[in-house]
């Protein structure tokens, strides 16, 4: 299926992620899990570390997964996926199991289980070159335990461990650039996607699975509960993240950088920030500071892409 030319209507109809799971209303992780299993199923094994997705979809005796799925611990999704991939390879070579089939091994993890506690396992798995896909659902905090900050929480965001008070104004540090860390391992495919651009996301998932070797996809997952916005706005917030240039959708295939969703006219950052309660405390100066930071990052992206992939800010 050539996903670069398809529309949403061309997505497969078969569902491998059942209803009745306990994720919040409007949860982006449900949208991601549904899409990934739809695009790659049924010859797919999913590895999930501890997190919202794992806990809400596998409370005994209910399971939302209709494909093989394994959860072990918080920080070892990439290590378990390495083991599964190695086992499939060994058993196929010895003619004992999985004869003549391509089985995709996909690790679907949160930002906590990827950028912080899971970084070691991810780095090891990428360096060893296992043929698997690692998808990080970035909701920018440890959501499952109640919205605590992670290395992927953006600057100035409110979380329960970076609250807003007289001394602190939300998180004081910048967001970790995890796709860059993945790309530094020299793996064949790194991509950044968003659930607002489903066609682009599906295309990247398919490509990552078909490429031989490790692939890393970083997906934006706006969380209504943690980012403090109405549950109906999940996709809208994701879209604004892309349209403000704060979330650039790109891919790096064998070292070649390409912006897959160019944004000719950028929206100002407050369109994105002010939709979310976690940024409610930002003053006009702080928003301008964020705007300047985004402008700098966009310039770097454009330089890297070789043209103006992300355009200038146009205030409507």
């Amino acid at each position: 299926m050539d996903y670069s030319m398809s529309t949403v209507k061309d997505l497969p109809r078969e569902e491998y992620f059942a209803s009745g799971h306990r994720l919040c209303q409007g949860c982006p992780e449900a949208i991601i899990a549904r899409l990934v299993t739809k695009v790659l199923g049924p010859n797919l094994i999913v590895v999930t570390p501890t997190g919202c997705l794992e806990v809400s979809t596998s409370v005994y005796p209910e399971t939302a997964w209709k494909i093989p799925w394994i959860h072990v611990a918080f920080e070892n999704a990439a290590a378990v996926a390495s083991g599964v991939e190695a086992a499939i390879r060994a058993l196929q070579r010895k003619g004992l199991k999985y004869k003549g089939r391509k089985i995709h091994v996909v690790a679907i993890a949160g930002d906590g289980g990827t950028a912080d506690i899971g970084l070691q396992a991810l780095s090891g798995a990428l360096e060893r070159g296992h043929d698997f896909v690692y998808i990080c659902m970035d909701n920018e905090a440890y959501m499952n335990t109640g919205i605590q900050r992670s290395g992927a929480t953006p600057l100035k965001a409110w979380t329960t461990t970076t609250p807003v008070g007289s001394k602190w104004r939300g998180k004081l540090q910048l967001k970790k650039d995890i796709p860059a860390i993945a790309a530094a391992h020299g793996i064949p495919y790194v991509a950044v996607a968003s659930i607002s651009h489903l066609k682009d996301f599906a295309y990247k998932v398919k490509k990552a699975a078909e490429i031989d070797g490790p692939a890393y996809i970083h997906v934006q997952a706006p969380c209504p509960t943690g980012w403090r916005f109405d549950s109906s706005k999940t996709i809208e917030v994701a879209r604004l993240g892309v349209l403000t240039g704060m979330w650039v959708l790109y891919e790096i295939e064998r070292g070649v950088f390409k912006v897959t969703v160019p944004v000719p006219q950028r929206r100002p950052v407050e369109d994105y920030l002010m939709l979310q309660g976690r940024f409610r405390h930002l003053t006009k100066e702080e928003i301008e500071e964020v705007q300047r930071y985004v402008d700098e990052q966009v310039e770097k992206v454009n330089k890297r892409a070789g043209y103006t992939a992300i355009g200038p800010v146009v205030r409507l």
């Binding site: 997964w65 394994i70 072990v72 611990a73 390495s82 086992a87």
Partner: protein, 396 residues
């Protein structure tokens, strides 16, 4: 082809793993287990062993990777010691909870602080509650054979529990002994592949490693308790089948001169080998002393141990690990508990010795035996003796 070779315990284990035709090996080096994974990588590199060799980036990932591989239906192996075992502590419980037939060899080494690479049993004793089957061996040949038995035991459909083969670091791991390397064909006949019911397979999708609320968790954990109850008998059967195939039987324990002994010395691993000489020396001086070396340590086959130990008047239990702040060493606590409700039970004295690789000589063990006899005659003054610490004197 069976071969007789001069091998260290580490290499003996590597040869056993090779002949069991494992599919996936996760390897992370730690003294004194390093040569196991080195030799295994040589086997894979020159094609003698057809396996996926995953050079993981930490021991935590080593066990995680073999869990993933075992869940996908592969036969797996990993090895570690000391700090590595401590690092993978949380994953140990996951392996037993998920009922995966993983075999791991532990070259027992003490835990920091202070940093020390030499042997005692602190590492495995600190993780003994993890639900794994734990077998302590005391020779290179036994290590080789136990690894082979471990695969057969772990993969039995009525057991399906991971197995730890524990041996003293350096004292056993690096000491060369003559080892009969079993014939690969016969080994594979002895441990054929087993179709497990629950594996990751797109044809039969299942969810592994579920989350459970208080209403189900206890039942899942009880399944492990129940499986462990079946292990002693299963190991006896596995051992008997091994004897049929290879002519050597190990049993669940080893007893030496216990039938008429007043004092029985209990020790795990290499200390027990040395203790045999001490027993002989003391016997020649007229002391009625015997030796009991448990082989299967978890689960403890309680009735079996009691049948041997019950008749003694005093048990001299040598622990090679410290259970800080407790009532004695781990082995002592276990033996004391098994007799606690019996009206007729032997007295028990605990010796904590050999910590951090400190040598436990024949003379030391003779002295421990004499201290046990003295306590028997004059009454027990001190129950837990930290043997051999400079500056500590019990006046015994």
């Amino acid at each position: 082809m069976a071969q007789r070779m001069a091998l260290s315990t580490n290499y003996a284990i590597a040869y056993a793993v090779k002949n069991c035709d494992v599919d996936v090996i996760a390897a992370y080096p730690i003294t004194p287990q390093t040569t196991v994974v080195e030799r295994l990588s040589e086997f894979v590199a020159n094609g003698e062993l057809d396996a996926e060799y995953i050079p993981v980036e930490s021991e935590h990932s080593a066990l995680s990777a073999v869990i993933g591989a075992s869940a996908a239906g592969a036969r797996v192996f990993t090895a570690t010691a000391s700090q590595g075992l401590a690092l993978m502590h949380e994953v140990l419980f996951m392996a037993s909870g998920m009922r995966l037939p993983i075999v791991m060899s532990i070259a027992n080494r003490t835990l920091s602080m202070p940093l020390n690479i030499h042997n005692d049993h602190q590492d495995m004793m600190s993780s003994r509650d993890c639900g794994w089957i734990q077998i302590y061996i005391s020779s290179a040949q036994e290590a080789h054979d136990t690894v082979i038995q471990a695969y057969r035991l772990a993969e039995r459909l009525d057991i399906l529990l991971p197995v730890c083969v524990c041996y003293d670091g350096y004292v056993l791991s690096h000491t060369y002994e003559p080892v009969e390397v079993r014939d690969k064909q016969k080994v594979l006949e002895y441990t054929p592949r087993v179709e497990r019911p629950h594996v990751l397979d797109p044809d039969k999708p299942i969810t592994m490693g579920v989350m459970a609320l208080p209403n189900y968790t206890y039942e899942f954990k009880y399944q492990v308790v129940d499986a462990l109850k079946r292990v002693p008998k299963a190991l006896e059967e596995v051992d008997a089948e091994f004897a049929d195939k290879f002519g050597v039987k190990y049993g669940l324990y080893e007893e030496y001169m216990c039938s008429d002994a007043d004092v029985i010395m209990i020790a795990l691993g290499a200390i027990a080998s040395t203790a045999r000489l001490a027993i002989d020396n003391l016997r020649s001086k007229g002391f009625r002393i015997g030796l009991f070396r448990p082989r299967l340590y978890r689960p403890i086959p309680v009735e079996l141990w009691k049948s041997v130990l019950r008749k003694a008047k005093m048990l001299a239990i040598v622990d090679r690990a410290i259970a800080f702040g407790g009532c004695g060493g781990p082995l002592f606590s276990d033996v004391a508990t098994m007799f606690i409700n019996d009206s007729e039970r032997p007295l028990m004295i605990n010796f904590i010795a050999g910590i951090g690789g400190r040598d436990v000589t024949v003379r030391d063990l003779e002295q421990m035996g004499l201290m046990a006899f003295k306590s028997l005659e004059e009454g027990l003054k001190e129950q837990c003796i930290y043997f051999g610490v400079r500056g500590v004197d019990y006046g015994l």
